[in-house]
């Protein structure tokens, strides 16, 4: 074998892209040709150094959660379209109501509100999905419950429980104020592997507590319960069993 044809095949030899016969032929030449052998050794060392030291990155959990949310949303375009339509319809009615109020002074707001009322799940799902979009998840980014809880003071009129569930595998990610069901509500954000859990809280119409209750929509799960006059909703794409575990930990811890 000539050095020219050997050198042309060194890369392929190195990358395991040659047949056994071809590889053997190269090896025979390398054994007797110091110049080619040296070139091969340089290549081999380069490959080793690069493949051993080049960084492998992990996609951030928040990115993964965002993608899962976006994928779930994109996979059910009919829901998105109908939601948008409802919104447009709602806007038109709102505009009509505004004109009615201005022109006649008659208040139709009450009637209107009951006519196009979203269910709590619709609004929470929209809010949850929105939260997974870039930069929307948290207003206060902190894994420290004593930072997150006081942050809500003056921003919302309920003081939600913010238990530390780190040891249970539900790290606290942060909190934000969101607008749901016609009011500003506190949202506490927890993580579970690549999943995000949003916990919403607002004053309950009935005092006392009630056990957790779950429902699902578009691949997202909701668990709601009442505690200390506050109604809580946990929303996530996490499976129902783990979401219930989370809620059990959450309620036990506060």
């Amino acid at each position: 074998m000539q050095c020219d044809s050997c050198q042309a095949a060194l890369e392929a030899r190195l990358d395991g892209e040659l047949s056994m016969d071809e590889a053997r032929e190269i090896d025979r030449h390398l054994a007797i040709c110091p110049a080619c052998a040296r070139q091969f050794a340089t290549l081999d060392e380069t490959r080793r150094l690069v493949s051993e030291n080049a960084m492998r990155y992990n996609a951030p959990d928040v990115l993964k959660a965002r993608i899962r949310g976006a994928v779930a949303r994109a996979a059910s375009p009919t829901v998105t379209a109908s939601t948008r339509k409802t919104l447009r319809w709602w806007r038109e009615i709102a505009a009509g109501v505004a004109i009615a109020i201005v022109s006649s002074g008659i208040t139709l707001v009450t009637a209107n509100r009951s006519a196009v009322r979203y269910s709590a799940e619709d609004e929470l799902l929209a809010s949850h999905v929105r939260s997974l979009m870039p930069g929307h998840l948290t207003d206060v980014l902190s894994t420290e419950q004593h930072t997150v809880k006081p942050w809500f003071n003056g921003r919302v009129d309920v003081s939600p429980a913010v238990p530390n569930l780190d040891t249970a595998g539900f790290p606290l990610i942060g909190g934000r104020a969101d607008y749901v069901r016609g009011r500003v509500v506190p949202v506490v954000v927890y993580g579970r592997r690549q999943h995000m859990i949003n916990v919403y809280a607002w004053p309950s119409s009935s005092p006392g507590g009630s056990p957790p209750n779950d429902l699902s929509r578009n691949g997202y799960h909701f668990v709601t319960w009442r505690s200390g006059g506050i109604e809580y909703w946990a929303v996530s794409d996490l499976n129902v069993a783990e979401l219930h575990t989370f809620v059990a930990m959450f309620t036990a811890a506060h």
């Binding site: 890369e11 392929a12 990358d15 892209e17 110091p34 110049a35 052998a37 040296r38 091969f40 050794a41 340089t42 290549l43 081999d44 060392e45 380069t46 490959r47 150094l49 690069v50 493949s51 030291n53 080049a54 960084m55 492998r56 990155y57 992990n58 996609a59 951030p60 990115l63 993964k64 965002r66 993608i67 899962r68 976006a70 994928v71 779930a72 994109a74 996979a75 059910s76 870039p134 691949g219």
Partner: protein
């Protein structure tokens, strides 16, 4: 898309998000751009999932990530921060008296990282696909959209540059 397809997509494609993100990091050299591109690529993959014929899902996703990265670069007109290649410019090495193993490893990593980053785009992508993602020549050809011969020549030229940048000269083999 029905529930079954969605689940299949989540099972087949989404496990490769780390690799997708790694490729985007190398191609764009910016973590935020890389995040945006991986998200965009994932949604594009979902849209074209019908056309996925069941080959290596990782290579398939990486091809989409690469295309999205190129489009992103064009759109953003990211100024090319490639360091001009000079045969005589070695990566700085510190010759401290007795560096411990961790320091050596860290500086080795930094040296390699810097060397890869300084490669022109067309060389950097084949090196990353080969040495980091461990793709075969054929898969690299599919991802980059060039014949295998081109993959080989780019890889050979990229390695020659890296050998110079990393000051590798295997004298002991002679």
């Amino acid at each position: 898309m029905n529930e079954g397809d969605l689940q299949r997509f989540e099972r087949v494609v989404l496990p490769h998000l780390d690799d997708a993100y790694t490729l985007a990091r190398y191609l764009l050299r910016d973590e935020h751009d890389a995040q945006d591109v991986v998200q965009e690529a994932s949604l594009r993959a979902l849209r074209y999932f019908d056309g996925y014929s069941g080959g290596d899902a990782r290579a398939w996703l990486l091809a989409i990530v690469r295309n999205c990265s190129l489009t992103w670069r064009k759109r953003r007109r990211v100024d090319d921060r490639t360091v001009p290649f000079e045969d005589t410019a070695p990566i700085s090495t510190s010759d401290a008296d007795a560096p411990d193993a961790a320091v050596v490893h860290a500086s080795e990593q930094a040296r390699v990282q810097q060397a890869i980053a300084s490669l022109p785009d067309e060389f950097r992508e084949v090196i990353v696909l080969r040495e980091v993602q461990d793709l075969s020549y054929r898969e690299i050809g599919d991802v980059v959209g060039v014949p295998i011969g081109t993959v080989m020549s780019r890889l050979a030229r990229a390695r020659k540059r890296l050998a110079v940048l990393l000051q590798i000269d295997a004298r002991e083999a002679s």
